[in-house]
């Protein structure tokens, strides 16, 4: 892989799988749709042909058992990668993930570790409706023992996958189809251990701190570009590791800018956006804040199917601008951007 080759997020995932399967004979992959040409997009294209159907196993429709089967094999000298083509399907494996895998090391005295990585894909939009659109990372980030990572860039899509699989702890790696076409030049593979990884500043700024993860980070980067045209310098932080969380990079940024706006693709109540706000504010003196923190999340409703409603359901760049610009032009009305549409401010 040449030094700085431009590659898409989607191709970067395939590169991560290929690296792991080539370099690590103890790695195997198991999940639904791995022999299908479309189920997991092109992120695993022809891996079954190249590495054989014993190492790339397509499975019956049994999420709870297959997830625990991957974990069982990972207790016996293998590094298993369990693939759920949708986060929504992984809900059926909650017992395997939350009651067994996340607690296995702790309850057996730290003597046995499920070296399993569970990859789930956020696949939403396209009028797929409430049960085929969920982003439940906040749920699984709540569970000690389950590391949770969400790549926002092609570099992370590849290197966080590798770091997750080479980590001896269970890791939930969630990628988002809406990031698949994001491209960037990425350097050679860097395998920093996952335990040492945390949030990264992707764009320096002075006036406001924007925090996101996965697709929300892409929204923050676009919003930062538009804010600059308003003379506002936004610092963008990509969370990358959602559990266990490290706050210091975000805290230092908020100390600098005095303003925090968190963008997240899951729901508000007990969601990641609120966690970042609480995590920062509990460790800085309130006087540091020039204004109250803002969070942009899904509305408190399941995803509607009809495109007339779906178009306003997911957080957009417009939502970010509508929250941030009033800070800098308090007199102007907050209804600046049309995409604002269904304002989340219907909350009390």
């Amino acid at each position: 892989m040449k030094q700085t080759e431009t590659i898409s997020y989607c191709a970067a995932i395939l590169e991560g799988f290929t690296y792991l399967l080539e370099k690590h004979p103890d790695v195997f992959v198991i999940g639904q749709g791995l022999w299908s040409p479309w189920y997991v997009g092109s992120t695993m294209k022809d891996l079954d042909i190249r590495f054989g159907r014993d190492r790339i196993m397509d499975t019956p429709v049994s999420e709870d058992a297959t997830t625990a089967i991957a974990a069982g094999a990972s207790l016996c000298g293998y590094r298993a990668i369990m693939v759920h083509p949708r986060v929504d399907f992984m809900v059926l494996a909650a017992n395997a993930l939350v009651n067994q895998i996340a607690k296995w090391s702790h309850m057996l005295g730290g003597q046995s570790h499920p070296k399993v990585t569970i990859r789930a894909i956020v696949n939403r939009g396209g009028e797929q409706g409430a049960q085929h659109s969920q982003a439940l990372h906040s749920w699984f980030a709540h569970i000690p023992g389950l590391r949770v990572v969400m790549p926002a860039t092609a570099l992370d899509a590849r290197d966080l996958l590798i770091a997750s699989v080479l980590c001896d702890d269970p890791v939930l790696y969630i990628d988002d189809r809406w990031c698949y076409e994001v491209e960037e030049p990425i350097s050679a593979i860097d395998v920093t251990p996952l335990e040492l990884q945390g949030p990264k500043v992707l764009r320096k700024g002075e006036d406001v701190t924007l925090v996101g993860s996965s697709f929300s980070t892409q929204l923050c980067l676009k919003a930062a570009g538009e804010l600059l045209s308003h003379g506002i310098s936004a610092e963008v932080i990509d969370l990358r590791v959602l559990n266990p969380i490290r706050y210091e990079v975000i805290r230092e940024s908020v100390k600098k800018t005095g303003r925090l706006c968190v963008v997240d693709g899951s729901w508000r109540n007990c969601g990641m956006a609120g966690e970042i706000i609480a995590g920062v504010l509990e460790s800085v003196h309130p006087s540091i804040l020039l204004d109250s923190p803002r969070r942009i999340t899904l509305p408190e409703a399941p995803a509607p199917s009809s495109k007339a409603l779906e178009a306003e359901y997911y957080p957009s760049v417009g939502h970010i601008l509508n929250e941030v610009l009033p800070w800098f032009r308090p007199s102007k009305s907050s209804e600046i951007y049309s995409e604002k549409g269904n304002s989340h401010e219907t909350y009390l």
Binding site: S305, E312, T346
Partner: protein, 355 residues
């Protein structure tokens, strides 16, 4: 010792069961009604397929073209006070049970006048009046809901039954076994209908299960079962009649395995012949097992129909579906407030409880 259940045998052999069906003296008017319902389902799904190809329909549509006889044969024995639950491939279950054609077409278009008011699309159908209680895309998820409806029917004690449609892939979800054990242990009036089309998305059943017949699970749960040619509407109807009668008489649940085959892709209008073991060679043969053609040929031999009549019926049905389709195209979309006002029963805005 090892125990071997009968596999599907010829039922899964694409070269068999292509001949006209035996009508066992079923009155012609009833057979004609079943033929017309199958034709309505076929045409409706062809119109939907065209809508998807043309980019007018966006939500994922899983078509049951080729599998119409199962829903029609089962619904023949149901009333509107029975409770029917479906899955991701449920246009046929919805229509056969009496679900409104307009409601289906408006729903796949995401319109406010859709059967789920545009909130669910093809994979979330609902028609209270006909007893179609709901369908969802999470595989096997409505099976226990139907058992709950069966529990309610038993409590009501008015002879109603609950019906759950699911596929051969769905039998790999543990909740199906939990549901069958519960229905058997509490003798609930539930009919489990497995549409075994030999595929779960791109995977042939031989790659997912040690045997291609799903009825072995009914036997394990002490539930009486019938395994039938799913493309023979009379066979489906007669088997359903026996099982539903037992259920209404309080003798507990029944299990119907109807062997069939889908002509289009797992999802969408294409034939996906390249996807999955054996599809390329099997599909043309299975098309000879067309449930509509096999019944029409039987009716022709009975002199109840002729080629001309059939031609006129096809075009009349096509005209009707097209006009309803055009009406649905013009219908309005839901108001943006719908997203927050349909989460809870009294239309109260989520989180927005005006304190």
């Amino acid at each position: 010792m090892t125990f071997h259940f009968p596999t599907l045998g010829d039922l899964a052999n694409s070269e068999k069961y292509g001949e006209p069906i035996a009508t066992h003296g079923v009155p012609s008017d009833r057979l004609l009604r079943q033929l017309e319902m199958m034709m309505l389902i076929r045409v409706t799904e062809e119109v939907i397929a065209e809508g998807v190809t043309a980019g007018i329909i966006h939500c994922p549509c899983h078509l049951a073209i080729g599998q119409e006889a199962v829903a029609v044969g089962v619904s023949e024995n149901l009333t509107h006070t029975d409770r029917v639950f479906g899955g991701h491939r449920s246009h046929s279950h919805y229509l056969a049970q009496g679900g409104a054609l307009y409601g289906l077409l408006a729903e796949v278009l995401g319109k406010e006048s859709g059967c789920s008011k545009g909130m669910g699309g093809s994979m979330h159908l609902y028609d209270k009046a006909s007893g179609f209680m709901g369908s969802v895309p999470i595989v096997a998820a409505t099976v226990p809901l139907a058992v709950g409806a069966g529990l309610a029917a038993k409590k009501d004690n008015r002879g109603a039954v609950a019906v759950t449609y699911f596929g051969d892939g769905a039998a790999e979800e543990g909740v199906v076994h939990e549901s069958m054990n519960f229905a058997a242990a509490f003798k609930l009036p539930v009919l489990f209908v497995c549409e075994n089309n030999l595929f779960s998305s791109h995977l042939h059943i031989d790659l997912r299960q040690p045997s291609n017949s799903v009825a072995r699970f009914a036997a394990a749960h002490e539930i009486p079962y019938q395994v039938v040619d799913g493309n023979d509407v009379v066979a489906v109807s007669e088997a359903t009649e026996r099982l539903v009668k037992r259920a209404r008489d309080g003798e507990g649940p029944g299990f119907l395995e109807a062997v069939t085959y889908r002509w289009r892709g797992h999802v969408g209008p294409r034939e996906d012949i390249d996807v999955g073991v054996q599809r390329k060679s099997d599909l043309p043969l299975w098309k000879r097992r067309d449930p509509i053609r096999r019944l029409a040929e039987s009716l022709e031999t009975l002199g109840a129909v002729d080629a001309d009549w059939l031609e006129r019926r096809w075009s009349a049905i096509r005209a009707k579906v097209t006009s309803v389709w055009e009406e649905a195209i013009l219908a309005p979309y839901p108001q943006s407030s719908a997203t927050l006002s349909r989460v809870y029963a009294n239309g109260q805005l989520t989180g927005g409880i005006q304190a």
